[in-house]
């Protein structure tokens, strides 16, 4: 297996240009998938026999929750790569991803609360799933706060990467919290014991939203990554070519 592509990604000009070229390939499919998911989730899917139409919140809540976990895991892996191989591009990726993950974690908490009120009778419970997701939000804030506290970008990269790597322990805790503890939050929604828990008319829009949100993250992180790469480059000739000086 050749690792040439991996080494080329470490080159800032290559990374900057690749990110720019890839962005539309993520953005347009994301827009179409999310639109299809919204139509399917809001119009075509039938009401749930227990939760009525309130369950439709799931079409934005579950993909947001997925992003909150996936983005933090990407940050931890990128942080580890940055620490081990001293790869600036990996640190740039982690820094670019953090605000996106934080905002979708907040969206998860808010949409979950809006689901909780009609279903559980309360906006908030100190339940294992909710509490560990709130902790994830604070981890994101801590990561971004730590980065902002250092003027030296290289120190900010290293210190925040350590927090990302240590904090990733919370990701499996969130995911398995509904299995390990007696939680108010419902169990796995998409698959349980290897079988889907809902009919295709409900499941397909949800899968479209999961894919759409993932591609949306890809498009946004690529744009942010271009900014992060530029901020890390000082007097490079390629920057002159790119920004048209």
């Amino acid at each position: 297996m050749t690792w040439t592509w991996f080494h080329r990604l470490a080159s800032p000009p290559h990374l900057y240009r690749t990110a720019g070229r890839l962005t539309p390939w993520f953005a347009w499919p994301a827009a179409l998938l999310i639109l299809a998911g919204l139509i399917g989730g809001l119009w075509l899917a039938p009401p749930d026999y227990q939760q009525g139409d309130a369950y439709r919140i799931m079409y934005v809540h579950a993909p947001s929750a997925w992003l909150s976990l996936m983005v933090y895991t990407i940050m931890a892996v990128a942080g580890a790569i940055g620490l081990i191989w001293r790869m600036k591009a990996a640190h740039a990726l982690a820094a670019a991803a953090a605000p996106i993950g934080a905002s979708f974690t907040l969206a998860t908490l808010v949409t979950g609360s809006l689901w909780g009120k009609p279903m559980w009778g309360t906006y908030w419970q100190w339940d294992p799933r909710l509490t560990s997701e709130l902790l994830l939000f604070f981890l994101y804030l801590g990561y971004m706060g730590l980065r902002a506290a250092f003027e030296d970008l290289q120190r900010a990269d290293r210190v925040s990467a350590v927090l990302a790597v240590v904090g990733v322990i919370n990701v499996p805790i969130i995911h398995y919290s509904v299995v390990w503890w007696n939680s108010l939050h419902q169990g796995p929604s998409v698959m349980y014991l290897g079988r889907p828990t809902m009919p295709p008319s409900m499941l397909v829009p949800l899968l479209l939203m999961f894919l759409g949100f993932t591609l949306f993250f890809g498009a946004v992180v690529l744009v942010r990554l271009q900014g992060e790469v530029l901020n890390r480059e000082r007097a490079a000739r390629w920057v002159e070519e790119e920004v048209g000086a």
Partner: protein
């Protein structure tokens, strides 16, 4: 149409949930473009400073 907007009586929770999520998506697009634009302008300023004797 009214039945759709009513969401079986759950409209006070369903529509705000969608508004918050789509709002977060819109903000992410805006923040990402702003970050890239600011980085470009800062890079341009640095290059211009370096060119001056």
């Amino acid at each position: 149409m009214m039945r759709f907007l009513d969401m079986g009586g759950y409209y006070p929770w369903v529509w705000p949930a969608y508004a918050v999520t789509l709002g977060v998506m819109g903000l992410n697009i805006y923040w990402a473009k702003r970050l890239r634009e600011r980085a470009r302008r800062a890079a341009l300023r640095r290059l211009q400073t370096q060119e001056e004797p």
